[in-house]
C-alpha cells in the first residue's frame, strides 16, 4: 500500500496548501498533516497529502551506510 513520492515544496499557499515539485512535475498538495514545513522542505506525498517530512540528511547517511556495507563485503 502507499504509493507515495518525496517531493520538494516550492510554494506555500493559503489554508495549509502548497505546491510541490519533482523533476519538472508539479502539483498542489495539502500540508495540514504536517505540524510545520517550509519552502525547500521535502515531503512524502500520498493521495495529494503530505504525510511526513523527508529528512535528506538521513537519506544521505543511509546511502553512505550502504556504500560501507558493500566495501566491507568486497
Amino acid at each position: 500500500m502507499c504509493v507515495a513520492l518525496p517531493m520538494k515544496i516550492i510554494e506555500l499557499q493559503p489554508e495549509s496548501h502548497g505546491k510541490v515539485e519533482y523533476d519538472g512535475m508539479e502539483r498542489r498538495v495539502n500540508l495540514r498533516l504536517l505540524k510545520e514545513c517550509g519552502i525547500g522542505d521535502y515531503v512524502l506525498v500520498h493521495a495529494g497529502f503530505a504525510i511526513e517530512k523527508v529528512d535528506r540528511d538521513k537519506a544521505v547517511e543511509q546511502l553512505r551506510l550502504l556504500q560501507e556495507l558493500k566495501q566491507e563485503f568486497s
Binding site: 502507499c2 505540524k35 497529502f49 504525510i51 543511509q62 563485503f73
Partner: protein, 349 residues
C-alpha cells in the same frame, strides 16, 4: 549502472548460511509485494529464505462486501469517488467499473471539491487503506466539517495492521521468523507503532536496494534472536511517527473490530468513524446493509493473505484465476500477492 546483483546474493547467502536453518519472513505491504515481484528479489534469496506475502493489500483484505456497498450507493444516484485500485475489484456480483456517476480520483480533495461545487448531488468517497490513506481520510473529514459540506460523506474500511501482525507472529500455521515492515505506514505510526512485536522486524522503504538491505538486516536480527524493530527507512520514519497526523486520526477515528479476509474478525483491526463525525459516515447516512459477502467457490485468498498458502500453491492460480479472469481480490488488485506473482513470474529463456 548495473545493479550489484552478485553483491546482494552473496551477502544474503552468507547471512543465511550463518543462520544455518530455513527462515520464513513476511512482508505485509502491497507495495512491498509489488516491488519484490517486479524486481525479482526472491531470485536473489537463497533457497533457505522464504519471503511470504502477507495481508498488506488493503483492497484484498477488505472483502467483497465493501464493493457491494459502494455499488449499492451508486445505484441510489450517489456520485461515488474512488481511487483507481478499487475499480476492478470483484464484489458479490460485479465490479464498480461502468457504474453511472463513478469518479476516479487521485486525491480525496478532488471528491470534496466536487461536492462543494455541486451541493445538489450526494458525493461519497469510498476508500480503503492503512495508516497513510487513513491520515488523508482524517484530514478530509476535518475539511468537510470546516467547509460544511453537507452532501459529502465517507464510506471507508480502513484497516489497522498492528493487531494482525501480533496474530500472525503467534500463528503456528504461518510459522514466521520475522517481518519486513511497511515504510509508509511507519512514516505515520513511527517506530513506536511497531514496538513490542514478538518477532524481529525491519522497517523498509521501497527501492530494490533498500528492501534487500532490510532483508539482510532482518536475517541478522533473526540470527541474534532478538525481537527488536530496526528502522531502515529513517529518512521518513521517525521514532514517534507523525504526531500531528496521529492526533488527527485520533480526532476522527477510533479503533474497532473489523473483518479481515483470511483472518476473520480482528478486535481493534479497523478504524471506525467517531460518532462526532457520524454525519459524514456514509454507512450511517445511507443506512447501508452490511452483507457478509460470500467468497467465490474455490477461492483461497484468505489463506494466501495469511501466508498459509503461496499464490503458486493455490489450485486456481493460473488455472481459472488469472489477471484476465480473476476469482478473488488477490489476483485483481495490482498489488495482491497473486497478481504480483502471476505478472512477474520468471520464465526460462
Amino acid at each position: 549502472m548495473h545493479p550489484p546483483i552478485s553483491f546482494w546474493s552473496g551477502a544474503l547467502c552468507a547471512a543465511a548460511a550463518r543462520l544455518g536453518r530455513p527462515v520464513r519472513l513476511m512482508e505485509v505491504c502491497g507495495s512491498h509485494s509489488f516491488a519484490a515481484a517486479k524486481f525479482g528479489l526472491r531470485s536473489l534469496l537463497p533457497d533457505s529464505v522464504r519471503l511470504l506475502s502477507g495481508p498488506g493489500c488493503p483492497v484484498c483484505v477488505s472483502g467483497p462486501g465493501f464493493i457491494d456497498r459502494a455499488i449499492a450507493l451508486s445505484r441510489r444516484n450517489v456520485r461515488v469517488a474512488v481511487f483507481g485500485d478499487l475499480l476492478r475489484i470483484p464484489g458479490s456480483e460485479g465490479t464498480l467499473q461502468g457504474e453511472a456517476g463513478l469518479m476516479v480520483i487521485y486525491s480525496p480533495e478532488e471528491a470534496l471539491d466536487y461536492a462543494v461545487a455541486h451541493p445538489d448531488k450526494e458525493v461519497v468517497l469510498a476508500a480503503v487503506g492503512f495508516e497513510p490513506t487513513l491520515s488523508a481520510g482524517a484530514a478530509i473529514l476535518e475539511l468537510a466539517a470546516e467547509r460544511n459540506a453537507a452532501n459529502f460523506s465517507l464510506l471507508c474500511d480502513f484497516k489497522r495492521i498492528r493487531p494482525v501482525l501480533d496474530l500472525l507472529a503467534a500463528d503456528s500455521g504461518t510459522r514466521l521468523d520475522g517481518f519486513l515492515l511497511p515504510g509508509h505506514v511507519g512514516s505515520v505510526v513511527g517506530e513506536t507503532g511497531f514496538a513490542g512485536l514478538a518477532l524481529p522486524g525491519v522497517i523498509s522503504g521501497f527501492s530494490a536496494e533498500n528492501m534487500l538491505h532490510s532483508i539482510l538486516l532482518l536475517l541478522q536480527s533473526v540470527e541474534k534472536g532478538c525481537p527488536a524493530v530496526i528502522n531502515n527507512y529513517p529518512e521518513v520514519v521517525e521514532a514517534s511517527g507523525n504526531r500531528a497526523a496521529l492526533a488527527m486520526i485520533e480526532h476522527c477515528f477510533e479503533p474497532g473490530p473489523s473483518e479481515w479476509r483470511g483472518m476473520g474478525n480482528v478486535p481493534g483491526g479497523g478504524w471506525l468513524i467517531r460518532p462526532e463525525f457520524a454525519r459524514f459516515d456514509a454507512a450511517k447516512r445511507f443506512d447501508l446493509p452490511f452483507s457478509a459477502a460470500r467468497e467465490p467457490a474455490g477461492c483461497r485468498c484468505g489463506e494466501v493473505l495469511r501466508g498459509a498458502l503461496t499464490p503458486e500453491e493455490c489450485p486456481l492460480f493460473g488455472r481459472g484465476c488469472t489477471p484476465a479472469h480473476p476469482v478473488g481480490a488477490c489476483m485483481v488488485s495490482g498489488e495482491g500477492a497473486c497478481a504480483a506473482a502471476y505478472r512477474y513470474r520468471e520464465v526460462a529463456s
